[in-house]
Symmetry: C2
């Protein structure tokens, strides 16, 4: 291992939109694993919208990244040194090592994965945190019943694409919302949703209404802002909203809330904000189902892959702007 | 019965604030009960915030009142004619006869009540629809656990006063929000809440913070607008909001929503809009507990009583402006 470690650290906190200057690429020594620890060479870094919250000083789901610290993030890679009997060199593992080539940590922080039927990168997507997020929000929070209509925003994304496919398997009418024809074609053609509405179209509201002849019973919300308002306006009585993300608002200095809040009362709606790490007891069942779905081709997915850690900031900003199709990853060589 | 019937009908739909001109007092004949029907002389009319929604053309919980129709409303009175064996002349009954002295309807639309231990008017308050609303929202939606903190807005009102007393019985810290010193004195002194914060005070936000050293786990929301925003800003993770009313917004042409909607995601909050008529299966248990509470003095309440049907419009407008203390009734002579 003559290679050095590479890391992306938080250089400054953004005000409004993230810029590449908020990050800094640093070189350093490869860490040495201590007692009971494992050293991993990451092959893929997952980029996810929640990371935007960690860049802020204010409280988000969990602790902020400090200035100068390595950016947090899910990673998939290969064990290169191990002081724990459960892991041997060459094992493929998923962990939370952040934006860096090499990382180490206690063995309990890693999950060994089988890449015989599911590619390594999929453990950061449909068979990983985004997939389980989709599974928990769809099954436990939205809980759609046969004959109902579910809407999911950011429908072509890592989470949204799985939401719609899981709901379709249950006989639900699924309407996706995505930005642009390419994404909507993918959502309709590859993912098999019943309809996809382009929120960038000037006829968005009319198109949405047309796609929802029976209104909305479930909303898996990833976006917020005017896109969310348009769906709430079509809520049926007793609709449920699984509130997973508000990506359209993360870079706004004055974020927009829910203007039509009275509709929640009038329609007796249930809204539940959730974060998948609060539902660890559901991961084993979810991962089993998702793994089988991907292995058998019943759950389809796409990846947008940036090449090399130095591209991570640009790719992350692209993700926040909706430039990616499917799961946004960084390949670490 | 030489008396004539008196009715208040909807004369016109309000734009923004309700005025007395939106109502019209009419005189007419006393109706004749048909087969299986009961004729009732009402003694009390209940005035409730939901009536504001019925005055609008747009959809609310249920059908609008049409122009020229008698305003809807809960009533308590006495049977004066009966064509049903279950009811005899002199029986005290609660029904939905609206803003009028006399009303008739099928026997199944009335509930016979026992006024030996609970006064007739209380069946429109703590032992009626407002009490059951408080019971369902507190027990089934907020579901506070011992040691948690519950906030209720419009704390001195017909619903809020019962919410706080039910929660106190369960060992919950209860903080009320009300407008002005008289209401807060009542909430603290008579109702026994742990704290009451005056939303009309310039130090409202600071006072609220001081009253909530451990944040907010449950919010029983009756008000909306800036008062709601202030409580949401103090939500703990996994807080629950029973969304019962938004009285501060009912007369706004451009109602304010929930600006800080991102907090629902960050704190993984559950919000549920509800209407007590969707929960009929809970009424028997709720009414039993509430009736025992009132009969034994464990649940206390106050009434603001307007005299005579012609005073109903003014009293209703007062209710929407928070002029009443406790349950707003109209005594029908």
């Amino acid at each position: 291992m003559s290679e050095k470690n590479l890391q992306v650290v938080l250089a400054s906190r953004p005000t409004g939109w993230v810029t590449e200057e908020n990050f800094r690429l640093e070189e350093g020594p490869i860490p040495k694993p201590g007692a009971g620890e494992v050293l991993v060479r990451n092959h893929f870094l997952s980029l996810d919208p929640y990371m935007r919250g960690r860049m802020n000083q204010q409280k988000s789901y969990s602790a902020s990244v400090e200035i100068g610290q390595v950016m947090v993030g899910g990673t998939a890679g290969e064990v290169v040194e191990s002081d724990d009997p459960a892991f041997k060199v060459g094992d493929k593992v998923v962990g939370q090592l952040g934006w860096q080539l090499y990382g180490k940590g206690p063995a309990r922080g890693f999950m060994k994965v089988d890449t015989a039927h599911v590619p390594l990168s999929a453990y950061l997507g449909p068979v990983g945190m985004p997939g389980v997020t989709a599974w928990v929000g769809t099954n436990d929070i939205c809980a759609p019943k046969k004959g109902e209509t579910l809407v999911v925003s950011a429908a072509s994304g890592a989470v949204g694409s799985v939401v719609g496919q899981l709901a379709k398997m249950k006989g639900i009418r699924v309407v996706g919302i995505a930005g642009g024809a390419t994404k909507c074609d993918y959502v309709l053609g590859d993912l098999g949703f019943d309809a996809c509405v382009d929120y960038k179209s000037p006829s968005f509201k009319a198109d949405l209404k047309e796609a929802l002849p029976n209104g909305v019973d479930c909303l898996f919300e990833n976006v917020g802002g005017e896109v969310m308002e348009a769906v709430v306006a079509r809520f049926n009585p007793f609709a449920r909203m699984a509130l997973c993300g508000l990506i359209s608002q993360y870079n706004e200095v004055n974020p927009q809330g829910l203007k039509t809040f009275a509709s929640i009362l009038v329609n007796r709606v249930m809204i539940r904000g959730f974060i998948v790490s609060d539902h660890m007891e559901r991961w084993p069942m979810a991962l089993t189902e998702l793994g089988q779905g991907v292995a058998t081709g019943k759950i389809r997915y796409k990846e947008t892959i940036a090449n090399g850690l130095k591209e991570a900031p640009k790719a992350f900003i692209g993700l926040l702007k909706g430039a990616n199709l499917g799961k946004q990853l960084v390949k670490l060589g």
